[in-house]
Amino acid sequence: MVTTETFKRGINKGITTTWELAKVVVPVYIIVTFLSYTPVLKWFAGVCQPFMHYLGLPGEASLALVMGYTLNIYAAIGVMTTLPLTGKEVTIIAIMLLLCHSLPVETAVSKRTGVNGTVMVTIRVLLSILSGVVLNWLI
């Protein structure tokens, strides 16, 4: 039975859940945005560049992966639109980023449920890179 109690419970849960997540999301967002204003992200993309051919991707695509891993899919797509990519390259980057993106924010969120963040990040990065290598070999 749906009563006013149902709505009260829903709104209550909305408030507590939003608060729980905001406590995590806001600080992380500010830190990563700060990093995006420093040369740190670009420097890291440069370090990754030599390894990109194992994934069948051009060197500049490393910036898309780094932006996706640290910030979000939207930032990565922003970079992707500036690169001339083939269908195969788009599919490889898509799978890699779908498996692994917005790591700081999403890991912080998943840690709120009590699980170990390091394990979650390790799984995602490993699966992402592995799927890139396998896809490059398959298609």
Partner: protein
């Protein structure tokens, strides 16, 4: 470094992020509560019951999993936190649902972004689901992979943290 631009982007970006989450969490929680009282979510998440049995998770785990698959990891996590507080899920079950969701979540929204760029959507969805099922299955059978957080043991991990 352009501090003014940074402050502006950090402030407006994080506020937007929270508002965006609230805009989805509030309706989601309302819909979930209504669905709960009408027993709808039970029926929808029943589709996931075979998966729950495969992972040896109690059927109540299907609800946060369904929420995460459709609405994304943050919202799935919201439902998981809620379920853990009410004692419906133990630590192992929460852990496995998390493993599944970090690999595969907001199935439709995220995929659509790459389809626009020319990727094959069906391929993306199917391979992600399969990978999530395989990895979660491995974790569900190999106890050593379930890493305990410091100060948390077994059931009610979140409960003890928030107590």
């Amino acid at each position: 470094m352009d501090y003014a631009a940074f402050l502006k982007e950090a402030a407006s970006g994080s506020l937007k992020q929270v508002l965006l989450m609230a805009a989805i969490i509030f309706p989601l929680m309302l819909v979930l509560e209504i669905a709960k009282d009408l027993n709808v979510m039970d029926k929808l998440s029943m589709m996931l019951h075979p998966l729950m049995r495969l992972f040896k998770i109690s059927h109540s785990g299907a609800v946060p999993l369904m929420a995460g698959l459709i609405f994304g990891i943050s919202y799935g996590a919201g439902v998981i936190i809620d379920a853990a507080k009410s004692g419906e899920l133990d630590y192992r079950e929460m852990y496995l649902i998390n493993i599944f969701l970090i690999i595969c979540h907001s199935l439709f929204e995220d995929t659509a972004l790459f389809v626009v760029l020319g990727a094959n959507g069906v391929f993306l969805i199917v391979s992600r689901l399969l990978l999530a099922i395989i990895v979660t299955l491995i974790f569900s059978r190999w106890k050593k992979l379930i890493v305990q957080n410091a100060g948390m043991h077994g059931a009610g991990g979140v409960e003890s943290r928030h107590a």
